[in-house]
Amino acid sequence: MTVHTLTIAELARKLRSREVSSEELTRACLARIEQHNKPLNAFLTVTADAALAASRVADKRLAAGDAGPLTGVPIGHKDIFCTDGVRTSCGSRILDNFVAPYDATVVARLKNAGTVMIGKLNMDEFAMGSSNETSYYGPVANPWDRTRVPGGSSGGSAAAVAARLLPAATGTDTGGSIRQPAALTGITGFKPTYGRVSRYGMIAFASSLDQAGVLTRSVEDAALLLEAMAGFDPADSTSVDVPVPKYSTLLEQPLKGLKIGLLKEFFDKGLDESNAACVRAALDVCKRLGAELREVSLPNLPLSVPTYYVVAPAECSSNLSRFDGVRFGYRCKDPKDLMDLYKRSRGEGFGAEVKRRIMTGTYVLSAGYYDAYYLKAQKVRALINEDFRRAFGEVDVLMGPTTPTPAFAIGAKMNDPITMYLNDIYTIGANLAGLPAMSVPCGLVEGLPVGLQIIGPHFSEAKIFNVGHLYQRETDWHRRAPAGYA
C-alpha cells in the first residue's frame, strides 16, 4: 500500500482499522527519508530507533482500542523545538552540540496525543530568514525544483511534507515562516492566534510575534494537529486561557454569506501577475460556494515590513544574549579572557543574518534611538492592528496572496537583505496583530506552487479551517505532488 500520499485523516482511519500499523508507517517514512533527504537537506536529525520504539507503543494502544485520532501518526519537529535527549540546533552552529534536557510543550502535547517523532527539521538559523538559506547546515531545496528555495524559516518542515517524506511537521511563524514556505512548496501551513499555542520550549526569536503552527497536506490535518497542540500552558505567561474547540468537527459549515475581504494593499504592483491570477481563481471558487467578496483597505499595512524589522530584531537581540558560551552551546577555543569568550563564541557561533539582526536590534534599542525606532514601531504596530480590527468589522476573513512570487532560485536574494525581507510583505501583518492565518495551495505557475492566504480575527481558527477545508473539497491543488515525490 502506498502510504506516503495519504493525509493524516486518511492514515488515522487505516491505523484504527488496523489496515496499516504505525510501525509500517514509520518504516515507510524512514525509507523515504533515506532515499530522498540528501538532495533536499530537510532533516537534520533522524531519530529512527526512538521512532520505531514509539511506533510499537502506538500499535499496542491501537490494538487495545485505546487510540486517539493522532495515535501512531509520524511527525517531524522544526529544530527550534526543544526535544528531550535529542539534539536541538535551531539551524545554528552555536547550538550544534546542544542536547535539549526537556520537551517543548508543543512536543509533549503531540507526543501525548500519540504521534511518532521521526526527527528534527532544518530551518533558517534562529528562524531568521525567508528561504532556509541561512542554516548552518546548508540550504534546503524545494522538491518542486531543487535549484529553488522552499521558503523559510520552516523550510525543512515544508520540504519534508511537500516531498511526502512524512505527513506533517511543526513549524513556527514570526513573520510568515510557516505560511510562506507552505505557499512555495504547495502545502497547507497554519499559524494560530498569538497565545493560542504555548511558546514554552520553542527557542525564542521575537517573543511578541512567534507562534507555533503546522505544515500539512490538508486543512483537515492542520485542524487535527492544532486541536492537540493548542491550549493554555501555565509555563507561558503569554498563553491565553481560552477553551480549544474541536476544530476537526467544525469544518463543514457552508460558506454562504461569508464576507471575504480583499486587501487592496495586497494586490499591488509587487505581486506577480501569474500569482495574482491563481489567487483570483481561488476567490472565484469561494464566490461559487456562496461567499461575498468585497474590497477593504488597511492603509498602514505597507509599513508592516519596516515595523517588523524594528520589533523583531529588537526582541531577538535580547533573546539571543543567553547564547554566550557559558552554560551550554558553542564556546570558542582558548578564550583569553571573558570578553574574548563572549565575542568569539558569539561571533563564530552565529551566522551573518543572525548577527545582522542582533546588531539592528541593539541599535534600535540603544540610548537616543529607542524613541525614534522601537517606540515608534510599536505605535505603527498599533495602527496596523487597528486597521485589521476595523476591517474585521466589515468582513469575516481576509484573503489574498501569501507571497509576491513563486519560489526563487537558491542564492538569488542573498546579496541584499531588504530584497529578502520583502518576501514577507503579505504575511507580516498577521504576526504584528497576532492574528491567525493560513496558506493553502491554489495553483501552479510554470510548475511552481502558489499559495492563497486566509487571515481571520483573533481566535477565529475554526472559521479559517472551515473556509480552507471547503475550498480544498472543490479543488485538488493540495493533492498535487512534485515530480519524483508523488
Binding site: R327, L341, R381, L383
Partner: protein, 97 residues
C-alpha cells in the same frame, strides 16, 4: 541619519558582544546602513496620541503564580551541556571586579 559609520558599527558590535573581523566590517556597515535606511520609513507615519502596542492581545494581564516550590535539583543533567564545569560551578575566564 540613514548611514552608519564604521565606528558606530564597532560600538554596536561591542554592546552585542560580537566579534567582527576586518573583512566583515564593511559588509555589515553596508547592510546595516541599508536596513536603517529602510526602517526610516516609519518616521513618516502619524502616531500622535497612539499608545505603543507591546503585546498583540490587548487587555491581557499577567497571571500570578502561587508561591510554591515546584522544582528539584537536576544539575547533573543540565550540566551535561556545559562547556566547562567544576565542583558544580560553571567556569569562565576570571572575572575582574
Amino acid at each position: 541619519m540613514s548611514t552608519l559609520t564604521r565606528k558606530e558599527v564597532e560600538a554596536i558590535a561591542h554592546l552585542a558582544r560580537l566579534a567582527i573581523t576586518e573583512t566583515e566590517f564593511p559588509v555589515y556597515v553596508a547592510s546595516l546602513s541599508s536596513i536603517v535606511a529602510f526602517i526610516e520609513q516609519l518616521a513618516a507615519a502619524d502616531t500622535a496620541n497612539v499608545e505603543p502596542m507591546a503585546h498583540p492581545l490587548a487587555g491581557q494581564v499577567q497571571r500570578l503564580r502561587p508561591d510554591v516550590i515546584t522544582e528539584s535539583d537536576h544539575h547533573d543533567k543540565y550540566q551535561q551541556n556545559a562547556p566547562q564545569v567544576q565542583a558544580g560551578l560553571y567556569l569562565v575566564p576570571k572575572v575582574i571586579e
